[in-house]
């Protein structure tokens, strides 16, 4: 296991780099920036609006350019997402532009996969190579055998090219490794999902309940800002987490739950609220379906029953249930976001949905609002060819309630060749080695490919496995598709270049367009430059491109977002109501009302491995950003200080973590703390890079992903529960 998982790093043969300087067809590229020359890039300070891409929240940014150089990034006060303030990662986005470890030119692998040797090539050569391989795959296996993994808005144009090519196998880790179970659980209950940005009305909540949701470390900007507003307004906060998180430090009630037992707690809460008739009776009567059956099902789940499971005293379960009921319907039991924990995640999310339904918070102020958006027509492209084969990730609807493509489903198909072979991967802005559990499987799948193209900005671990690496301009150096957001108020925002790319990096739209041209799909790109595309869409919607370019945001008229304001209370479920009892689940052979299953216990001497966010980092993408790394340079393993003392460890000592399958991590520092249960340890995700070209990040801290050799698939939607690994602590010698 260890030797395949050790990533081979990129090695560029220096002699060929000079070749990259002579660029053929690329002259036009920088047009988007150049057309502002003189107008925007003059001496002194210029402010240019755009939106952030350090995570997927898409906050509006004002970039300050001083003497032609990127100086700082601030929030765009006009933008409803940032409200004029960015999170630390957004503020530190400056470091992404100046990152000395960026990819500088396209690279083609020279030797066999595994012996990574690279040649720097021109864009023309790289795209030519890719096009040839794609055509070969298409003629041998069909266009569907090319799949794409992407994360974020930047992938839109490449997706368009690949759709035109004839495939429909597109997946993002944001479903099966992130919010998928939540969205499915809520959709099964209310007929609509939560989506991103979350439709949670945190700022108006009088009682806020977080299960694991660790705002303050999770820095999704508007959520954090609203959390602060809720604190200011004196909201009662209840935090359930095995770790005393930042959010927990703001809570009136902190429930140090035993990991993996949240469903038991949720059932007990619902039991109290139903038995003591504390729920919103009008609401449930009016909108609920199958309430009586539901009531029967949960009748045995008393707080006394939940106590030995969760470790939370019955008294506290009751008191917190009363607190929630007291503030209903302005009680928000937050659905969380990264919920792929134990494989029963859709059912847990459904339990959260049901608790909210009892409190009447869906559609209500302080609960879940109904997001609104602006109408903007798509670009009128010619229709895409119809794929001949179904999507590859979920054959025969094995996971009947999946509503998006399952990344690990594509990976499985690539390994097994079934239901049909997958021979080409495009990987755009997702570091699959860190994002998917069990990296050995990812590498096994890669070994079956004829073509792996990685479009990235830094030499990430996944880039290390690629046949072709394409260096993209970072978000501050390019246009992207328009962001037509679903939010509290309707608006459109624009990402536009604020500085030029320092080397031969190109924006995704250009890459996608040039690639389409190479494979003869010119008709799908009737526009010359992305500005033409953006102008077209905006004009078709009745908006002005120049206005958007100078303001960064165009807002629509505010619309009602709560039932009380006249939003129709519609629930697009099979029954048209809130499904307390789900017939569709029952028909598919699942529990119609969530049931609790004991989590697997840790073997003796092992701790459950939990992971989460550091406020200054995004996943595995910010560890070469010097500004952000300056804030937090390596992750630490949190361990209860009584246990640490017993093991003879103190904060700052280096140890290694070894999981149940014998995988040993990089060395990592101990954080001996009073802020975590004794049965689990916790590390921040995204560290422990083993790509040597990530000079600054290399070997700093340990990688949670590397230790997640096990995962439990959620049978409803195919997500990968990843909190199911156990580690021991090995003292460094």
């Amino acid at each position: 296991m260890d030797n395949i998982s050790r990533r081979k790093f990129l090695k560029i043969s220096a002699a060929t780099i000079s070749g990259a300087a002579t660029l053929g067809a690329v002259g036009k590229l920088t047009e988007s920036v150049e057309q502002f020359s003189g107008k925007i890039f003059r001496n002194g300070v210029q402010k240019i609006p755009t939106f952030c891409d350090i995570c997927f929240w898409k906050c509006g940014v004002i970039a300050y350019i001083r003497d032609g150089k990127l100086w700082k990034l601030e929030g765009n006060p006009e933008d409803p997402l940032s409200r004029g303030r960015l999170c630390p990662r957004g503020t530190g986005g400056v470091g992404a532009h100046y990152d000395p470890d960026r990819l500088k030119s396209p690279l083609i692998r020279k030797n066999d996969r595994g012996k990574e040797e690279w040649v720097a090539v021109t864009w023309d050569e790289a795209l030519e190579y890719i096009a040839r391989k794609m055509q070969a795959i298409k003629s041998e296996y069909g266009a569907e055998s090319v799949a794409m993994f992407s994360h974020g808005i930047g992938g839109n144009f490449l997706k368009h090219t690949l759709k035109a090519f004839g495939t429909h196998n597109f997946a993002a880790p944001s479903f099966a490794q992130c919010r998928g179970p939540r969205d499915v659980g809520f959709k099964l209950t209310f007929g609509e999902d939560i989506s991103s940005p979350e439709r949670t009305d945190i700022k108006n909540a009088k009682c806020l309940v977080f299960l694991g949701y660790h705002l303050g470390e999770n820095m999704h900007n508007t959520q954090v800002q609203e959390f602060s507003e809720a604190i200011q307004n004196g909201a009662s906060i209840i935090v359930v987490d095995p770790r005393f998180s930042i959010a927990a430090s703001k809570a009136k009630y902190y429930l140090p739950i035993k990991p993996g037992t949240d469903i038991a707690l949720l059932l007990a809460w619902m039991n109290v609220i139903v038995n003591e008739k504390l729920y919103d009776r009008d609401y449930v009567e009016k909108y609920g379906f199958g309430f009586e059956k539901f009531k029967n099902e949960i009748s045995n789940y008393t707080p006394e029953w939940a106590y030995p499971e969760t470790g939370i005293e019955p008294e506290i379960i009751r008191r917190t249930a009363y607190e929630m009921a007291k503030h209903k319907p302005a009680t928000l039991v937050h659905p969380g976001r990264h919920v792929t924990w134990y494989g029963d995640d859709t059912q847990r999310s459904r339990a959260i949905a049901l608790l909210n339904a009892l409190l009447g918070s869906w559609g209500r102020k302080g609960g879940f609002y109904t997001p609104v958006s602006m109408d903007l027509p798509e670009y009128p492209y010619p229709p895409y060819p119809k794929p001949n084969k179904p999507k590859v990730d979920n054959p025969n609807s094995k996971y009947p309630f999946a509503i998006e493509t399952i990344t690990n489903g594509i990976r499985d198909a690539t390994i097994s060749g079934s239901p049909y072979p997958i021979k080409g991967w495009f990987v755009y802005a997702t570091n699959l080695i860190h994002a998917l559990p069990n990296e050995a499987e990812t590498i096994k799948a890669i070994q079956n490919l004829d073509l792996l193209v990685v479009i990235d900005v830094i030499p990430s671990e996944i880039a290390g496995w690629a046949d072709v690496v394409l260096p993209e301009s970072i978000y501050l150096e390019r246009y992207d598709d328009l962001n037509v957001e679903w939010f509290r108020e309707p608006f459109i925002s624009l990402r536009q270049p604020v500085v030029e790319s320092p080397h031969d990096q190109k924006p995704n739209w250009w890459i996608a367009k040039k690639l389409a041209e190479k494979i003869g799909l010119n008709e799908y790109y009737p526009w010359e430059n992305i500005v033409d595309y953006l102008k077209y869409r905006l004009t078709a919607g009745g908006y002005d491109f120049e206005e958007l370019r100078t303001k960064g945001i165009i807002k629509g008229t505010p619309q009602p977002i709560y039932f009380d304001q006249g939003v129709p209370a519609e629930f697009p479920t099979p029954s048209g109501k809130i499904e307390f009892y789900s017939l569709q689940l029952a028909q598919a052979g699942f529990d119609a009302v969530p049931k609790y299953k004991k989590p697997e216990e840790a073997p003796p001497g092992y701790f459950r491995l939990l992971y989460g966010r550091a406020p200054v980092h995004s996943f595995s993408r910010t560890q070469t950003n010097r500004i952000l790394m300056d804030m937090y340079q390596e992750n630490e393993v949190w361990i209860n200080h009584v246990i640490a003392e017993r093991l003879g460890l103190k904060s700052g000592d280096y140890v290694k973590l070894k999981n149940q399958d014998g995988v040993v991590s990089n060395r990592i520092k101990i954080k001996s703390t009073n802020r975590i249960r004794p049965d689990c340890v916790y590390i921040v995700h995204g560290f422990g890079h083993n790509s040597k070209m990530l000079r600054y990040a290399y070997n700093k801290g340990a990688s949670d992903s590397q230790l997640l050799t096990r995962y439990v698939i959620d049978p409803l939607m195919g997500g990968t529960g990843m909190n199911v690994n156990f580690v021991t602590i090995e003292v460094e010698v």
């Binding site: 300056d630 804030m631 937090y632 200080h641 703390t673 009073n674 802020r675």
Partner: protein, 316 residues
Amino acid sequence: MNEITNTRMNPSIDQFLSIWNWEIPVYLFLGGIVAGMMIISGYFLFKGRTKDVECSCYKIPFVSLIFLTAGMIALFLDLEHKAYVWRVYTTFKIKSPMSWGSWILLLIYPVLFLNILIRIPKFLSNKFPFLEDLSTKINSHPVAVRNIGIASMISGALLGIYTGVLLSSLGARPLWNSSTLWILFLLSGLSTAAAFIHLIAKSRYESHLLAKADNVFLSLELIVLILFLIGLLTSTQVHIDAAKLLLNGSYAPAFWVFVVGLGIIIPLIIQIMAVSNKIPHTPIAPIMVIVGGLILRFVIVYAGQVSHWFNAQLLK
């Protein structure tokens, strides 16, 4: 348990890393010994005992000049913005011991020169014969020599006091937060100076005399050191913690062995026996005193930087 996490990554301002390295203790030591020398030679000049104690009166001023200059070089080496050093002489800051120090140093040099003029070293008078004339002139007025002695004592005392006040004015470091620190440094300056003369004086009388004087200084120094520690130990928790750094903390070995043991008590015993003619004089005792004085400055400067207002919280 109290768990404090500080995100400050800057090692230059971390409370457990030093602000000042070897340069400052060396400077303080040299400043101290020069102060002691000036007081001693000034005293003898004032008393007109130039004949009894030739070394103190005639050699020591020149040695002081060299030591002081070496100390100034150490201080200069420590400055981060060396090209701007002249800025200290564009102003006088009454609350700043550093400023006082800079100006005192300006005062010391002329006094030392006058001191040296009383008896010009051979190599100088060979080169600059006019100096010899000046010297003769000064020596013909005993009052002038006495006044030079007074000036020498005063400026020496100022210098010695200043080296202690410099630290004790920096209230952020509890170990230095003591009004006895200047007395301690002054006495240490005197004891190391006396030891130095004891060591190099050719005349047995002078050597013996200064050994006697040294015993007085060392005894007083020991008492003041005890007072210094008692002062800290009877103050707030942070001061107690600071004293503990010396008493049983990370600086205790250096403090007990080199400063107290080998630097004061043992040489004191040896010298008490030597002055009462129980044993012959040995160069070992004065060398121990001098090294002890140097290590005292190192221990106080280093431990002082570690002592901190936050320690009390951190150590709990």
